[in-house]
Subunit: 356 residues, 2 copies
Amino acid sequence: MDEVFMKLAIEEARLGGRKTKTNPLVGAVLVKDGEVLSKGHHEIFGQAHAEVNCLKNMDARGATLYVTLEPCSHYGKTPPCADLIVEKRLKRVVIGELDSNPKVQGKGLARLKEAGIDVTYGVLEEDCHKLNEIFHFTMKRKRPYVFLKWAQSLDGKIATASGESQWITGEEARKDANRLRGLTDAILVGRNTASLDNPRLTCRTGGENPLRIVLDSQLKTPRTHALFKDQPTIFYVQEDLGNGPLTETARKVEVPLKDGKLSLKEILRDLYENQQVSRLMVEGGGQVLASFIQEGYADQFVVYEAPLVLGAKGKPSLGDLHYPSLKEAFWSSFKEVDILGQDLKIKGGPECLLEL
Amino acid sequence: MDEVFMKLAIEEARLGGRKTKTNPLVGAVLVKDGEVLSKGHHEIFGQAHAEVNCLKNMDARGATLYVTLEPCSHYGKTPPCADLIVEKRLKRVVIGELDSNPKVQGKGLARLKEAGIDVTYGVLEEDCHKLNEIFHFTMKRKRPYVFLKWAQSLDGKIATASGESQWITGEEARKDANRLRGLTDAILVGRNTASLDNPRLTCRTGGENPLRIVLDSQLKTPRTHALFKDQPTIFYVQEDLGNGPLTETARKVEVPLKDGKLSLKEILRDLYENQQVSRLMVEGGGQVLASFIQEGYADQFVVYEAPLVLGAKGKPSLGDLHYPSLKEAFWSSFKEVDILGQDLKIKGGPECLLEL
């Protein structure tokens, strides 16, 4: 029966959708005498945990709590759930998987056992883990999961020698690429793309709009551009330019330079810790994509490849990469490839955690 | 019953394999009173036609001849088959498809009818046509069918900035690429590839070795290189260098220059008319591939794409292409794409007639 109730808890966890941001999806089910008394999940980043939502206003004495992730034992944005469980005098707790947060791991479980509660863990552990793959990934690295997207000709070009680029990929591929924006918390472009293309970076295929990020060390994107309007945008700028609002929706955030460029490490740290960005999509241009690859921040990629060739003088899809040898280049692996309309859709990467 | 015997004739035709070169595959079956009296096919380029092989030493009076392709009515390398059929006093001839050679088309059929022979045509026409797709293609254009093969990184590079290129693709892809050499009559490379890589261009996966072709206007490939040995090679050179043997297996053939480069049109004409090359595989380098694309001689392509990126300074897979606009670039279509070992195998082209 444990698996049946854990399955319910997993379903409940999923209701959190993407609103838990950098927090995990967690679901809890309270059961007594084989009957479900209540359910609850972690709903929104920074707010009540699943256990709290599940146990609220319930007489839980002698009942069993099924929870997909180990209850916390520390004071974070909310008090420890393990304490609440003890207080509520539950008889038994069944845990899906242990927390990967080092502040919690094993400690929640220990706290429960200390209090004489019967604890089982590892029920549907794999399914529970799968639910929070991105959470575990980001928790370990303290940075968002990063996926790169670009479009190119069969020979790796994004424009003719004279700069003509619209359109290389077909309608299906462009629509699919736009759909990806609905799967990410934030979308990042460089200053050239922001200035030259004047993109909106919104999801026009039904998904939620991501936070827009521009790497613009000297804040040169024209103020009349779309990125200053309608939706939130963060411009990462160099340290002497200050922090704060630029327009009603846009603001600037300072980061230190590294080798004359904005430090990607610092940007990713800020996105994760201060902007609650768990998934970041990098769209370009070529030099920005290359920087993410060069610094080891390319967890997954999607490349749309069009059935044309533009020759050696065409504009390359990626900027300069500096590898001392072929062996030390960015070697990855392909996960899936399909024909999409006129184009290829190529998916791969060292860590393919998202269905893109 | 006509379809049954035509099917036999098609099977018979296939026995010609690739030995008929620029000639079609043709099969013939002689039938009387529902019984097969004999079979024959066109065996080797320049030698007896299928009808001749089938009717040889046979008393064919009153019999029916099934033949996959319209019997010829002109004197080529052999006398007209239509005359032989008349002479042999056949009662009926069943033809698969009419010849696409304008010297023959409809005339063989007319010759037979004139002589009072009962003629049916169009039996299993599609199957008969499929048998000789490449023949029809080359007959119409008076040049070989050309397919391009190259390997590259995901961003369209074939070597690092410093020239390191071995290996970009994995073992499976390299083996598959070698297998393609067994499917072509000739394989072509440029002078740089010939000189720098010193390739053998042989098929090491069980197929027959193709004729080796080098574009080397000034004949600068070192004489000690593998292409001068063991297997036939043609070096196309500019007009003042003369024709004739270079070694026991290599010889030079003069072609005029066009815009300072060997005329591809003349080379293809020579390959088709004088060297009986029906299928040509172009392997590189990048500038040679680009020339074939630019001049409209890229009927099909196979690209092996490896899961690494080398950045803008890597060596491009294709040389310069000169297109006035994006619209006028080489647009083609993808036919099939698969993951092969670590790599992608991408197939496409404006005319995909070969299973590569």
